[in-house]
Each structure stands twice: as C-alpha cells, then as structure tokens.
C-alpha cells in the first residue's frame, strides 16, 4: 500500500492574476520510499509538499496519506523547512521536544527518544544552546531531529540544505543518508540540486514550471547504502547527464 497518493491534483492560487501552481499532478510514494522532487524555482514543487503537509488546500483532484484525505497538518507528516524555522526563544532540547510535549506524550516516553535523536544528528553536546548560537547546518539538524522525534510516517523536506554552503551541504546529505538508513522513513524531498536528488533518492520526479507538472520520473538504482563518495561514480554521472538533458528540454 502506498502511503502517499496524489491523484490528478491541481492547485490554483487565487488573486488578481490567479496562478496555476500545479496542473494535474499524479504521484504515488510507497512505504519507506525516498522520492525527490526536482525542478527550477516556481515549478510548484514546494506547493506539492505544502499540500501533503496540510498547509495548503488542493483546488482539484485527490490527495491521500495512509489512505485518508489530507485536511490539515499533523505530526504523522514531519516537515523540515528550508530555514529550519526553529523557535528562537527555545533551546535545542526544547525545540526538539516541542512536538511530543504539546501532544501530551508522557515525558518518560519522549525523553529517551529525543536524546537518542540528538545523538544521531550529532548535537547531544548542544542541547542547551539557542538556535542563534548554532550554524546553519546545526540548525537544520535540529529541524530534522524535531521532525523525527514525533516518529512521523513520512518526512517532508523542503529544500532543507538549499541555504547551506557546499561543504556543509555535503555533510548534511551524508547525515540524512545515515539517518534514513537507520530509520527507513518515507521521505519526500524537494530540491533544485540535481546531485542531491540523485544521491539521496530512489526516484526523481522532474518538474516543469507554469503550470507545474511532473514531466518525467526517473528511478535511481544506485546501490545502498550510499555515501557522498557515490557522487563521482560512473553510474551517478550517467544519471546526471540524463537529467541535465531532460531539464534542458524542459527549459526550452
């Protein structure tokens, strides 16, 4: 059973000049799949993610998560935002436990898990630091831990490493690969970085802009576990050439 099902989904943002952000998009994501949405800015890939997160309502079509229509945001779909969106007045620990705490999960239940996740993202020594005292990459790791602590059925990541410098981005990609190998959560990953999409995902949905559509789906069969060393393998480069050609067609 697929955990995510977009069926002929369209999204129009109303306004003086209404914008058709998504046009007749269909997409199925299976349990434990890692799917990347790849495309230029303005192609509606974040809109697609926001629909699944429950932040926006679809204009047309159907959207099911675990067989039920998506109507609102919820902890079963953990979101990692582009700029982390941590609460600046809470320290790392309190940012991470915010979800279970407001849901009324018993402390004895969430505390060990939160501690384990902080260790998993390498921030156990920074539990008392405020977000502003952290680097961009560390903030994003808090964002990942905060989403994972709720044990979500899916992880929705909206260009989470887009604002990071190249080196930090590489280490974050490695971290995400490690975490995903361990937890095996379903992931929808939005990016405009071709390398990132190939490295991380099982399947890439290439999107075009105005109106936003999925123009091609490319399965990535690189062996797992992967690491950033895969970036230079011949198979990787072949995928990249293929996608570059595709995106060139998309642009012209």
């Amino acid at each position: 059973m697929g955990t995510v099902l977009f069926q002929n989904v369209s999204k129009t943002f109303p306004g003086v000049r209404s914008v058709r952000a998504l046009d007749d998009v269909s997409l199925q994501i299976g349990e434990g799949d890692f799917v990347a949405l790849l495309g230029p800015s303005g192609c509606g890939k974040s809109t697609l993610l926001n629909l699944l997160a429950g932040f926006d309502r679809l204009s047309d079509g159907a959207l099911l998560f675990d067989g039920r229509p998506v109507t609102r945001p919820g902890p079963d779909r953990g979101v990692v935002f582009q700029e982390a969106a941590l609460f600046p007045w809470l320290d790392v620990w309190n940012n991470v436990i915010f979800g279970p705490k407001v849901q009324g999960v018993p402390k004895s239940e969430y505390e060990p898990r939160a501690r384990e996740l902080l260790r998993l993202v390498g921030l156990d020594a920074f539990a008392e630091a405020l977000p502003v005292q952290l680097s961009g990459g560390m903030r994003q790791r808090v964002g990942i831990a905060r989403a994972l602590v709720m044990n979500p059925r899916a992880l929705l990541m909206d260009e989470p490493f887009g604002a990071l410098d190249a080196q930090t981005r590489l280490s974050m990609q490695q971290l995400l690969l490690d975490v995903w190998e361990t937890l095996g959560t379903t992931v929808l990953f939005v990016t405009h970085d071709i390398d990132e999409a190939i490295l991380l995902s099982d399947r890439i949905c290439v999107m075009s802009a105005r109106p936003g559509r999925i123009v091609r789906t490319i399965p990535i069969t690189l062996p797992r576990p992967r690491s950033i060393a895969s970036l230079t393998s011949p198979a990787f480069v072949a995928y990249k050439a293929d996608i570059l050609a595709e995106m060139n067609v998309v642009h012209h």
């Binding site: 945001p73 969106a85 600046p88 898990r113 156990d124 905060r146 974050m172 971290l175």
Partner: protein, 309 residues
C-alpha cells in the same frame, strides 16, 4: 524499484557514534562567547558614562543656584536648589503632624499612594491589553470586532476622560486607577497586536506540523514571538500611566504626588512643587528600569540574536 525498509523506532537505533559533521560557527559555538578584556573595560566605561551623563544636570543646577538671590529667582517665584533640597528633606524626614508644615514627613506615604495606583492601573492594562492585542493581531474576527473601537477611542486624551472618570468613580483612587489603566492600555494593545501580526508564518506552520492546537500556538508561539513588541508597549504605557496618575490626583484624589503637587502650588510652596516634580521623574525612571530589567531577562534569547546575527 523501491527499497522497502523496516521502519524502526528511533530508540532502537545503533547509530554511528557522534558523527563529525559540520562544526559550530566560530564564536557562537558555546554558550560563553564573551570577548576577552570586556570584564576589564566594563567598569571604566560605566564610570565614564555616569560622569558624562551627570555633567549636564550639574551645570544646570550650578547655574540655577548661582543665578538666585536670597534663595530664589524671578522675584521669589523659583526657589534655588538648596531650598528645594531642604524642602524635600523636611517632606521626607520631618516630624509628622507638628507645626505649620502640612507636608512634613509625608513623602513616603504619598510616593506609595501614587506608586500603588500606577501598579494597579498598569496591571489592569496588561491583563486586558496583552490578551486583546494578541487576539486582534492573530484573529481576523477579533480584529474586526475590537480594532475599530480601539482606534476610535484612542485619540481621546486621558485628560478628556477626567470629568467622566470623576462622574463615575467620584473623588478617590478608583478614578485614578481607571485613567492609568486606560492610558496604558492603548500602547500595550497596539504594540502587542502588531507583534502578533508579524509572527513568522513558518513558525506557525512548524507548530501546526508538530500537532499544536490553536490555544497552544497562541501561548507557546504567538505570545513569545510578540513579546519584544509587548515590552515596547509596556514601556510606553507605563510612562502614560505616570502622567495619568498625576493628572488624576491633581483633580480628583486627595492624596498622592499629584495631590501634593497641586496643593503645594496653591499655597505657594514652589520648593515642594519642584521636589515633587523631581520625585515623579525619579519614580518614572526607576519603574521604567524595572520593566527594562524584566525585558532583559525575558528576552535573553533575543539579546544573543542581535549579538551574533
């Protein structure tokens, strides 16, 4: 193809130990990022600032003292600083109920009367203004229902409310507390609603994603995010509160610094009038410092932000 994995609970993970991903950013890394030498420079800088700040008042006081003839200026209207000081001393520490000076020894009692009224009125303004501001800034229906009334009543100066206040509350502290609460309410509600309106939408989305309900979001996200604006409103409101208490006491209450101010003027005791004015100024300053100290404590996260951002 798709890799199907057994989803495992995070607690069961045998994760790689302490991965060495990216390092913390320079000085911002640990919690203690105080620049070297700051402890050494700080006292001397503070002393310098105090000296610089004292220069102007000292010059004015000296000129005022030297310009006086026989203890006063302008033909006996304005007493010199030494007379004011003497008047304040008697007012503060003189024996009560003896002799011809009705103010003798009543300073502290009057300070407490006024301060208590400001505290009560200001407290009411916070209790009503902060929730109302959050509601106006957060909820469109609340904004539509409350904001027009607030905006129409706001231009009416608190002094214009005096007759109304006396008619309703009579002569007594009730009217003063009403005027203080009203005067302080406006800046608190306006600034709080502005702060609540400006909350980062992504923080709201993050809270929704984590399963927070509307009330939790108001209390745990909107309120802390709006707190810097709330404090701006509190400081402006407190200043208006002191204005209101003096106005009210001059006209409609038989005690407090405002009452003494007007009464002393009436009987020609300009030395007491000036001592009273300085007392009001000091109290306003100290109460503002108190709010500032609370702000400093409550918004520690923000202070770090402006340092490192």
């Amino acid at each position: 193809m798709s890799v199907t994995m057994e989803p495992a609970a995070p607690t069961d993970t045998r994760a790689p130990a302490a991965p060495a991903y990216d390092a913390p950013s320079g000085t911002a890394g640990a919690a203690s990022g105080r620049p070297r030498g700051a402890t050494l420079r700080r006292p001397t800088r503070l002393a310098g600032r105090v000296l610089l700040g004292l220069a102007l008042p000292v010059i004015v006081l000296a000129a005022w003292q030297l310009a006086g003839r026989g203890g006063s200026l302008f033909g006996g209207v304005l007493p010199t600083p030494d007379r004011v000081w003497a008047a304040w001393w008697t007012w503060a520490f003189g024996a009560q109920g003896l002799g011809l000076n009705p103010y003798s020894g009543t300073w502290l009692a009057n300070v407490l009367y006024s301060a208590e009224r400001v505290a009560k009125g200001f407290g009411c303004a916070i209790l009503i203004g902060v929730p109302a501001g959050i509601a106006i800034g957060w909820n469109r229906i609340a904004a539509g229902a409350l904001d027009p009334t607030v905006q129409i009543l706001r231009p009416i100066p608190i002094t214009a409310w005096l007759p109304f206040s006396i008619a309703v509350f009579g002569i007594g502290p009730g009217g003063a507390i009403f005027l203080i609460a009203l005067g302080a309410f406006y800046p608190i509600v306006v600034n709080t609603s502005q702060g609540a309106r400006d909350v980062d939408r992504m923080l709201i989305r993050a809270a929704l994603m984590m399963g927070a309900g509307p009330f939790t979001i108001l209390r745990r996200v909107v309120l802390p995010a709006a707190l810097p604006s709330v404090f701006t409103g509190l400081r402006i409101g407190l200043g208006i509160g002191w204005t209101a208490v003096i106005v009210a006491e001059m006209v409609a209450v038989k005690s407090g610094l405002g009452y003494v101010l007007w009464d002393a003027y009436y009987v020609g005791r300009m030395d007491v009038v000036i001592a009273d004015m300085i007392t009001i100024g000091l109290l306003g300053f100290l109460s503002d410092r108190l709010v500032l100290a609370i702000e400093h404590w409550a918004l520690a996260w923000r202070r770090l932000q402006s340092h490192h951002a």
